[in-house]
Every structure is written in C-alpha cells, then in structure tokens.
C-alpha cells in the first residue's frame, strides 16, 4: 500500500515535531512531505507538493487557517484537510468545516485521537 503524503501546516515548531513523531507511530503508513508555517506558505506548498492530506492549524500569522483552507479548496476542491485548533468553540469548528475542512481535531489530542481521524478519512 502506498504511503499517504501529508503536509503539516503549523506555526509552532514543537507541534510540527510532535505531529511528525505521532505519524511515524503508524508504522510507515504516512509520509510527511512538507511543512508550512503560515497560510500563505501552506497554499504555495500545496500547489507544489500535491499532498494527500493537510493538517491545518487555524490561528497563524500572515494568513490564518480558515483563509488557507478556502484558497486550497479553490485550487483543488478534492483536497483533504484536517483543521487542528485550540479554539474550542462551535463557531470556530463550523467556520472551518464551512471553508472546506473535512475533519476537525481539538487541541489537546492524543496519538489515538489523530489516528482515529486519519483512519476515518482514508477509509481504513
């Protein structure tokens, strides 16, 4: 089975590292193909890398996550995006889903939480 290619959009370095570590725990199912530190970068990276999935932090400098989701979706309506945020209000969640995110992951989350979401998306 082919590895799923994942783009991580996250402004905090320790969070990016943590996500990489977590995805490695899946035993080679996922491959992190790139990182972006803000929305604008994320859109460029998406166009360049064409990943199977994007994990998108919502609160970022330059361009926030919601805007980035919209831009990516505009470029590729088939794009799979998981929004990840600490802002736990339903409004935030709805905003992300409306923009085109497939799933929503609350901070804090465990390895298991992450895998549950990914497995659901990739239909395993």
């Amino acid at each position: 089975m082919e590895k799923k290619r994942i783009l991580i959009v996250e402004d905090a370095a320790y969070m990016r590292e943590m996500l990489v570590e977590m995805l490695e725990q899946a035993g080679g199912k996922y491959e992190v193909v790139g990182f972006a530190e803000n929305g604008l970068e994320a859109v460029e990276k998406y166009k360049e890398l064409k990943p199977d999935l994007v994990t998108m932090d919502l609160v970022m400098e330059v361009m926030d996550g919601i805007q980035a989701i919209k831009e990516i979706k505009k470029h590729d309506p088939e794009a799979l995006i998981v929004a990840i945020t600490a802002l736990g209000t339903p409004d935030q969640r709805n905003a992300a889903l409306d923009a085109g995110a497939e799933e929503y992951l609350w901070k804090p989350f465990t390895v298991k939480n992450l895998f549950d979401v990914l497995e659901k998306l990739f239909g395993e």
Partner: protein, 761 residues
C-alpha cells in the same frame, strides 16, 4: 213801528188817559179858581204808574205837581198875600206828597216785580231740570192722580204727559196695590228711598224701576201730594244679576284654584304656610305640620318659635309692602336650617297674606360643610406636597401654585397667578412639552414627561413632570376668553383655538440632582461594562492560550506511553495525563461560562429520549462508581419520555450532578437518579439526583450554584474541584427556562432537583 205799537200797550194807554183826565180836571177847576180836593184824583195815575212802571212813577208825580202849580198859581185870584202864601204852601205840600207816594209805591212794586221775576226764573230752571232729568219725575196728588209727568217718564213708560195727566197712577204698577203702599209709606215716613218695584209700560211690558219719593207740601205745610223720582233699572238689574253670577263663578274658580293650590302645596316636599296679617295661620302643609306640629287657629310665632308675641325677625312688614323676601333660618327647636322665601298673597277679599316656603337645607348645609372640609384637606395636601404643583387653566395660564412651586420657580404665589406656563419651559423643550400636554389632555400620552424648567433667575432645572387633566373641567372657548379678561390677562390665540380644552394639574419633581447622579452612574456603568468586556475578552484569550500548551503535553504524553518504559515511568505518564485531563476540563468549563456570560450560546434543540440520555450518562460513570463501590440506580417514569432540548447541555447537566454525587459520597454509598413529571404541570419534567453523601450545611444551600463556591476548602481540594460544575448546571437549566435547587441533610445526603419544560417555545 211795530216796537212803538208794543210800547204803546194797554197799560200805557190807561196811564196816559188817566194823566190826561187829571190835566183836564186841573184845568177845569183852576179856571173856576178852586184849589180843592180834586187833587186826590192825581193818586190814580201815580198809583198805576207806581204799580206798573215802578220808580218811573216819580216822573208822573213830578209832571202832575208841576202842571198843578203852573195852572193853579196864575188862575187862582190873589186874594191876599197871606192867602197866596197859604195856597202856595198847600200846593207845594201836595206836590211833595205826590212825589213821596209815587216813590214809595214805585219802590215797593219794583221789589215785588223783581221777586216775581226771580221766582219765575227759578221755576223755569226747575222745569228745565225736571224736563231734562234722566230720571222720571212724577207728581201725584193725594187722590193718586198724576199731576206732573216729565220726559224721562214718557220715555220708559211710553205714555205722553197728555195721556196720563189727571189719571190715577195705580194703573201703572204691576201690582195695583203698590200705589197705595207707596203712598202710605211716603205719608208715614215723609220719604221713600231706593224702593224697587215693577211697573207696566204702555205696551204692558214689565219695567223694573228704582224709586225715591217725597211728600209734597203747600206753603202752609199741608201735604198736597207726592213727588216720585224713578229710574228704569231693568238693564241695570240684569247686569247686576249677571255680574253677581260672574262674581260667584269667579269666587268658585278662585276657591277651586285655591283648593288645587292647597293640594299641590300639601304634597310638596318643601314646607308651605300662609299666614294672615294678624299672624294667624291660614294654611300649613303636611310637610311643615309633620315637623312643627300645628293646632288650628294658632299664630305663627307660637308654632315656629313658641313665643307669645310676634318675633323681632318677622318679615311681615316687608312682605305686606309687596316685597318677596328670601332668608335663611335655623330652627334651634328642630335643629334644622331652612331657606325661606316669603311672598305676599292677595286674598279675594283684598287683604294680603304672607306665603312662606320652607326649604330644608340642613342636608345641603352639611354637605357644603363637608365639601369645605374636604377642600381644606386637599388644599393642605396640595400645599404641603413635596412636588411642585400648579393648576394650568385651559388658556395655558397658571391659576394656582403650591409652596414647592414657589421655591422651584422663584416667584411668589401672587406673581405666579396668570403667568404663562410655557414661559417656564426651556426653549428647546417648549414645543415638545406643549405637544405632550395637548396629547395628555386627550389621554393619549404617558403620564410623565421630563423637561428643562427655567426659574426666575434663568437657572435651568431638570424636572420630571406629570400632567393630569382635571376630569369634568371642560371649558368652552368663549368662557375661557371671558375668564382671561377677568383675570386681567389677554388670552393667547392658540389657547382660544383649542376648543373644549381642559384644565390640568402639573406636578413637577426637581430631578436635577437625581439626573446628575444618574449620569454619573451611567458613565460608571458604561466604564464597567467596557472593563467587563475587556476582562471577558482577556479571559477568553487567556483560556485559549492556556489550552495551547496543553496540546503538546497531552500529545507527547500519549507518544511517551507508546515507548518502552519502566513501570514507574508509565505510572508517571499516567499521572501527567490525568492532571492534563483535569486541567483541560477546568479550562473548558471556564470557557463555557465565559461563553454563557457573553450570551453567545444558542440552544441546539432536538427531540430525544430522556431515559436514553440518563442511561447513557450513568453508563459512562459506572467504572468510576464501581471504584468507590457505589450503587447507581435510575427511576425514569414513563420510560422513553421524549423531550425537546439541547441534548449536549442536558447530558452536561446530568454528568455534572452525577459526577458531584460520586465525588461527595463515601465508598459504598448509593446514588439515585429519578425523572418524573411535575404534578399538575404536565409540560415540565422534574429530575432529581440524590446521594447518601456528606451533605451541605443549610446556610450554604442557596450559595452552592454560585461560581467557585466551596463547601469546605480542605474537602474540595481533596476532591479537586473549583465548583464550576453547578454554575454550568444552573446556567444550562436557565437557558432552557427551568430552575434548579437542592435539599440536603448534613451527613446523610443531598438531593439536587431541576425542572425543565418538555418543549421550548
């Protein structure tokens, strides 16, 4: 010639010839020389002239004497001088006698002639009177025969004087004996006056006459007949009869009217009495008798005042002068006050009685006094009210103001009278307040209206005003103008235009100070709200910022758990995870409360089975309960009860309550969840979570739903809660329109209740 013939009448010729005879005799005897007795013949013409021509006889005497002297002297022979003197003497003597006789006779006969003339005149006069008298004058002699019958008698009897003179008068009377009777009375009494009888005229028709008669006597006082003066009174009597009849009718009518009047007076609620000029009560109606009592024949001063003499305040005199008098009288005897109207009443016999009407005004007086008292009461209230009060006339002028209004306006009460109400309103508010007043008069505006009040010194005071139209004080436009003129102020045209506008009372409260404080307060409040918003925003950000570092803690812990670790390390990781979870829970609760406070929460309404929710929640807590060996039981009446609510919130409510129950109940305790309907209120469900825990002190019960409440600090710390759970429970239940409360018995357990409607509106 004719006049001469008249003058030369018979008497003149006789006299002329007798004088001529004397002349001839004188000449004859003188020629014989005799101066003898023949001169006695001279007395014949002198006497005749004296009788017929009165004093003119003296001329005859003088003529004859002179002639005698002239003839005798030359013809008589002069015998001796002495003899001549004697003859002359005798002649002269005779002449003087002639003249004296002539004068005397003339004087006497002249007097007699004058008397006769007067007598004749008188007779003519009387005849004229008799003839022209309107009354019939008839003279009847002692034999009863008519001797005189004048024109008036002819007129009403139809007989002419010629026909009746000398005939007996008996036949004229309807009763033939009447003539005898009249004659007898006249003879006996000497006269008869206004005697009425009936005669028959020529046509034999009866004529009523009134007759007066007197005895007629001759110069010697011997009765010769009677003179009767009579008049036809047939018409007069008819008229009199008619008059009498009419008078009788009139009297009856008056009597009837009086009776009717009395009947009316009897039934009047007012007292009525009529008193004669002698104070005798002629009439008194029932109303008055009932109050004062009355015996027939009593005098008024006895009845009303129990006096024996007329009262000093009696109005009899004025009334008898024709005046109507009105006055007030208080009867001390009856303790009542009367309004009296006394008026003259002219009686049939021409006397004047006094009619008095008593109106009992005791009650009116009492009411008037009561009204005065009430007015005084309200005046005191008005005067001492703590708000400024003024009465505004329909024309917009102030007519009355109280002490407070004086203080507020800076004007004295007398200065305020007639002042324009609008002058006290600041320019910018005037139109608004006047519009408000107009609407208020029609009852179409709210009770109060704030505005800026301008006092005498020009100081602006903020006032709250209440304008109240005075009911029943509708004023006509015309009357208003009059009132305005009377008060010496001209009425504004705009006021006149508003026909039927009302007076109103304005009550003003100086709220300047209040308004200043309010403004301060509002400012403070705004600042605080701003601060609160800032704080909320800050907390919101702070809570989120607190969540961010939790993410790597939880994430790395979950990664670490997958590594190969000694048992000790694994335990540490588990503790870290446990703490992180608690921290997250706490932060979530704080966030939720912040969200509720900022009213951002909307109910996500869905229909679901309450029973299912309870089972679900209980199932989630079973492991925890099992750890403490607690038994959880549920009693849900009418299993499958479906309600419409925010499921998440209902779950949170149950979770919080059950979680608390487990926490505060020692091992081996019991927890019971009960759901039932509220009796009589089928639209609501009541839920109860009961435990056998440590309980809550009664004084703390009302506070437990407040934020960060802790029953016992040490205990709470042991149990690890910040007391936010119950606050969220309360808020969620409130959001559903329900309520929450708790009962507890210290050391035995607590019961938490909440009620929510089955359906949201």
């Amino acid at each position: 010639m004719g006049t001469l013939a008249k003058k030369l009448n018979c008497k003149f010729l006789v006299l002329f010839f007798s004088v001529l005879f004397c002349v001839v005799v004188t000449v004859y005897f003188a020629s014989k020389g005799e101066t003898g007795v023949y001169t006695h013949l001279f007395y014949i013409p002198i006497l005749l002239a004296g009788v017929w021509y009165h004093k003119k006889a003296i001329y005859v005497a003088l003529f004859l004497s002179l002639f005698y002297i002239l003839v005798t002297c030359p013809l008589t022979p002069p015998l001796t001088p002495s003899l001549s003197v004697a003859v002359l003497e005798r002649i002269l003597e005779r002449s003087v006698i002639f003249v004296a006789v002539a004068y005397t006779i003339g004087l006497v006969s002249e007097k007699r002639a004058k008397g006769e003339e007067r007598l004749k005149e008188t007779k003519d006069y009387l005849d004229n009177i008799i003839a022209s008298s309107a009354d019939a004058i008839v003279v009847v002699d002692l034999d009863g025969k008519v001797r005189s019958w004048n024109k008036a008698a002819e007129d009403y009897m139809g007989y002419t004087a010629k026909e009746v003179l000398g005939t007996p008068n008996k036949r004229f009377f309807a009763d033939p004996d009447e003539a005898e009777r009249i004659a007898e009375i006249v003879e006996r009494e000497g006269e008869l006056k206004n005697y009425r009888t009936t005669v028959l005229n020529k046509a034999k028709k009866p004529v009523r006459i009134r007759m007066s008669a007197a005895l007629l006597k001759d110069k010697l006082g011997v009765p010769v007949g009677t003179v009767r003066v009579s008049r036809d009174v047939t018409k007069e009597e008819e008229l009199e009869e008619e008059l009498e009849e009419r008078k009788k009718e009139e009297r009856e009518k008056i009597k009837k009217e009086r009776d009717n009047l009395n009947l009316i007076l009897e039934t009047l609620p007012d007292g009525v009495y009529i008193v004669s000029k002698d104070y005798e009560v002629e009439f008194m109606n029932r109303t008055l008798i009932e109050v004062f009592g009355y015996n027939v024949g009593e005098v008024c001063y006895k009845v009303f005042h129990n006096r024996t003499t007329p009262c000093p305040l009696c109005k009899q005199e004025e009334v008898r002068k024709g005046e109507t008098v009105q006055w007030e009288w208080h009867s001390r005897k009856k303790e009542r006050t009367y309004d009296l109207v006394e008026t003259p009443l002219r009686n049939i016999d021409g006397t004047v009685s006094k009619l008095t009407i008593f109106r009992d005004i005791t009650e009116r007086k009492r009411i008037e006094k009561k009204l005065r008292d009430a007015e005084e009461r309200y005046r005191v209230i008005f005067e001492h009210a703590l708000t400024a009060l003024c009465l505004i006339e329909a024309g917009g002028r102030i007519s009355l103001a109280n002490k407070e209004f004086e203080a507020l306006s800076g004007y004295s009460r007398s200065e305020l009278r007639g002042k324009k109400w609008g002058d006290f309103i600041a320019d910018e508010d005037r139109v608004r307040v006047q519009n408000y007043c107009a609407k208020r008069r029609d009852g179409k505006a709210p009770a109060c209206c704030p505005f800026k009040f301008v006092s005498r010194s020009g100081e602006i005071r903020n006032v709250q005003s209440w304008i109240e139209p005075i009911p029943g004080a509708e004023v006509e436009a015309g009357a208003e103008v009059e009132a305005g003129t009377e008060a010496g102020v001209e009425t504004e045209p705009e006021a006149r235009a508003g026909k039927g506008s009302k007076r109103c009372i304005a009550s003003l409260l100086d709220i300047t100070e209040l308004k200043r404080k309010e403004d301060e307060l509002r400012e403070t409040c705004e600042k605080l709200t701003e601060l609160d918003d800032m704080k909320r925003e800050f907390l919101n950000v702070a809570y989120h910022e607190m969540r961010s570092p939790l993410a790597p803690i939880v994430g790395y812990a979950s990664l670490l758990e997958r590594c190969e670790l000694p048992d000790k390390g694994r335990r540490y990781i588990q503790n870290i995870e446990q703490c992180a979870k608690e921290l997250e829970k706490m932060i979530n609760r704080m966030l939720e409360l912040a969200r509720i406070d900022s009213r951002k929460i909307k109910l996500n309404l869905k229909e679901f089975s309450l029973s299912d929710v309870v089972q679900e929640v209980v199932k989630g807590f079973e492991p925890e309960a099992a750890k403490k060996e607690q038994k959880i039981s549920t009693v849900v009446s009418e299993v499958g009860e479906v309600i419409q609510a925010d499921k998440q919130q209902v779950v949170a409510v149950f979770s919080n309550l059950i979680s608390n129950a487990i926490k505060y109940t020692p091992s081996g305790g019991r927890i019971e969840i009960r759901v039932d309907r509220v009796e009589d209120r089928g639209e609501e469900v009541r839920c109860c979570v009961a435990d056998t825990g440590i309980g809550i002190p009664a004084e703390d019960l009302p506070k437990i739903f407040e934020r960060f409440y802790m029953v016992d600090t040490s205990l709470t710390r042991k149990s690890g809660s910040l007391g936010l759970g119950l606050s969220i429970v309360k808020e969620y239940v409130k959001l559903h329109g329900g309520r929450v409360w708790a009962t507890s018995e210290l050391g035995k357990g607590s019961k938490f209740f909440f009620i929510i409607p089955k359906r949201q509106r």
